[in-house]
Amino acid sequence: MARMTMIEAIRDAMDVCMGLDENVVVFGEDVGYFGGVFRCTHGLQQKYGRSRCFDTPISELGIVGVAVGMAAYGLRPCVEMQFADYVYPAYDQIVSEVARIRYRSAGQFTCPIVIRMPTGGGIFGGQTHSQSPEALFTHVAGLKVVVPSNPQDAKGLLIASIEDPDPVIFLEPKRLYNGPFDGHHDRPVTPWSKHESGEVEAGRTVTPLGKAVVRRAGSAVTVLAYGTMVHVALAAAEDAGIDAEVIDLRTLVPLDLDAIVASVRKTGRCVVVHEATLTSGFGAELAALVQEHCFHSLEAPIARVTGWDTPYPHAQEWDYFPGPARVGRALIETMEA
């Protein structure tokens, strides 16, 4: 197994899929010749030609809109939004079209497209390069929503997403692109090339959608996290010295409710973390489900540790970001509640 950055793993996933299925096409802003501003598509145009990997005009609506038409034809477009913060011009196409075409045509037309987008903060990107809009997609029936937390998952989940018969919103935590972050922004980062979770299987490796994974077994409290926050949660558990069970959800829709319920029934406590704003974030859904399905096991209220209900600020990035200290505090409070 080779070590890869998350960027390389994502590129490798597209490479594998383009090699196996000539209906897979890749496009987006700066995605073609240059290979993407984060270089996730670097080399694909050279390898597969300009008809299968190309630059587009700066129109997120257009990118998704033409992808819908291509999918109706029979292709499998895997498109890039340059940042998740720029997906909104395509929101109508996603909500009204992508998510509903199979349903409203009773299966005559389908929309197996993947919309990749770098998400989350931690790079001093300010309010337009830091957002985590996952909850704006989890509310839309017909979409699947995926957030990997390491290179192997990024590759395996992206291959699963491209091969999936339904549309997938694929959120890539950009703080993890080049290094695992390990939860503390103020400590040196081990690059993926030196990190044990930088190992990535070669070829067609598939991580099925809808399956969570326990990243750290524990018995005192369950932490539900995804993406960057998995690393924060692990750091927080370590720092706070709490026997927390950290679950990496990987897929938000469909959600691995069984894994969640099994863990919370065992621990009796639950902390939910995400970077997006609190109100109506995906954490609300998780808390609602957990209290419903584990009511009689719960010994403390479910806590949510999230970004604050403000736009993502520039200078105050690390005040905004729910880091290990805040998560740790929530763990302790939940244990003491």
Partner: protein, 410 residues
């Protein structure tokens, strides 16, 4: 600059409103046969004028004249007449069915039948339309069974879309008819994507996008033109200008540009404007644009000048915003009558045969209707199951939907 006048807002208004006398004398109508027909591979720059004119074939005497004439045989024209008459009869029956509560909603095509009926004949099997709700002529002229249309309109147990979709929001992959969206505009850029896919695969099929005059203001219109122009997608982009967008006259969407067709000039596209009530002209232009796409010469933008004679939908009453007699004053006439007259002039048709055909068609439509009503109507008889409501959200039903279906007890 101290003597600068105060600014004021210009809000375009139609020249007449209810109570006024309709007057279309400001609408410039070129003589039939007077607009040249460029070669399909001519430089778009050489034909910019076509965006400001109107291509017409049928003259007042019912003769087909000029360079755009001659794309159809009399037999084909008779079939076209039948298609339009069928659509009109179908509309009338379904309007009534809606008033009888057999469906929730209906939208008719009165006055615009030629546009979709004639266009359809320029396509080949495998081509794909991305229509709006006012192109049922594509289905009728393409041989989609009337009874299937009605089953959907009634949302009954035989509804091909299982009751999920609004009436008239048809879908038929087999008939080259993409699933209609209720959200205006979205299909226009999807058509471009379908065409790009065909080009990527080295196929020979082309796509057709449809949009209303009012909906050209939507963002999808712009995205469609940008992508079509950049990738020279094999697509025909059709604007059906029926003068109205619900209560809003076309001047609001068109603004200061002379025509909707003119929008194409900013993208370097060949752009034609055609008499949408002239079956022969529509077909000739369709054929030209389809050939361009098919020969990989790229996209064409076409504006069909027509008039929405009826209400916007069964929820609308146009007498609140336009003179009742406006449609009679419309200078391009009625597409059915114009084609009928042409065929009579050609000596292959007569008033009697027309009447008789009308009766025949009514019979066909009523038979289909009876057949459909056996399967139920919106509030009576067979209906799609509540179970169907949970199917098809995803290819495979995920656990949370299974749980919800159980909760629903279906």
């Amino acid at each position: 600059m101290t003597d600068t006048p105060r600014l004021s807002l210009h809000v375009p208004e139609p020249e007449v409103r209810p109570g006024d006398t309709p007057d279309f004398s400001n609408v410039a109508i070129p003589r039939a046969g007077s607009v040249p027909r460029p070669e399909v591979d001519a430089d778009p720059k050489s034909m910019r004028d076509l965006a400001y004119s109107i291509i017409r074939v049928l003259n007042r005497q019912g003769e087909a004249v000029g360079p755009w004439a001659g794309t159809l045989t009399n037999e084909e024209l008779l079939e076209g007449l039948r298609d339009m008459m069928t659509l009109r009869t179908f509309d009338a029956r379904m309007q009534t069915a809606q008033r009888q509560g057999k469906t929730s909603f209906y939208m008719q095509h009165m006055g615009e039948e030629a546009v979709s009926c004639a266009f359809r004949k320029a396509l080949l099997p495998g081509d794909m339309n991305f229509p709006t709700y006012r192109q049922a002529g594509l289905l009728i002229a393409g041989g989609y069974p009337l009874v299937d249309m009605m089953n959907q309109i009634y949302s009954n147990e035989a509804d091909p879309l299982k009751g999920r979709q609004l009436p008239i929001m048809y879908s038929s992959r087999e008939h080259g008819f993409f699933s209609i969206s209720g959200n205006l505009g979205t299909q226009f850029v999807q058509a471009v994507g379908w065409g790009m896919a065909s080009a990527i695969k080295g196929d020979t099929k082309i796509a057709v996008g449809w949009i209303g005059d009012g909906s050209t203001a939507e963002s999808d219109f712009h995205a469609a033109l940008v992508f079509a122009s950049t990738y020279r997608a094999p697509v025909v982009l059709n604007i059906v200008n029926n003068q109205w967008a619900i209560s809003t006259f076309q001047g609001i969407a068109r603004g200061g540009s002379g025509t909707f067709a003119a929008r194409g000039l900013g993208f370097g596209l060949p752009t034609l404007r055609v008499d949408g009530n002239d079956y022969l002209a529509v077909h000739a232009v369709a054929k030209w644009a389809v050939e361009r796409a098919r020969r990989n010469l790229g996209p064409t933008l076409v504006e069909y000048v027509t008039y929405r004679v009826g209400a916007h939908s069964t929820s609308d009453d146009p007498s609140a915003y336009r003179p009742k007699t406006e449609s009679e004053a419309w200078p391009l006439g009625d597409p059915v009558i114009r084609l009928k007259n042409h065929l009579i002039v050609q000596g292959v048709w007569s008033e009697e045969r027309h009447k008789q055909t009308e009766a025949e068609i009514l019979d066909v439509v009523i038979t289909a209707q009876k057949e459909a009503e056996k399967h139920g109507t919106l509030h009576a008889g067979g209906k799609p199951s509540a179970r169907d409501m949970f199917e098809g959200v995803y290819a495979e039903m995920p656990a949370h939907l299974r749980r919800q279906r159980q909760q629903a007890g279906v």
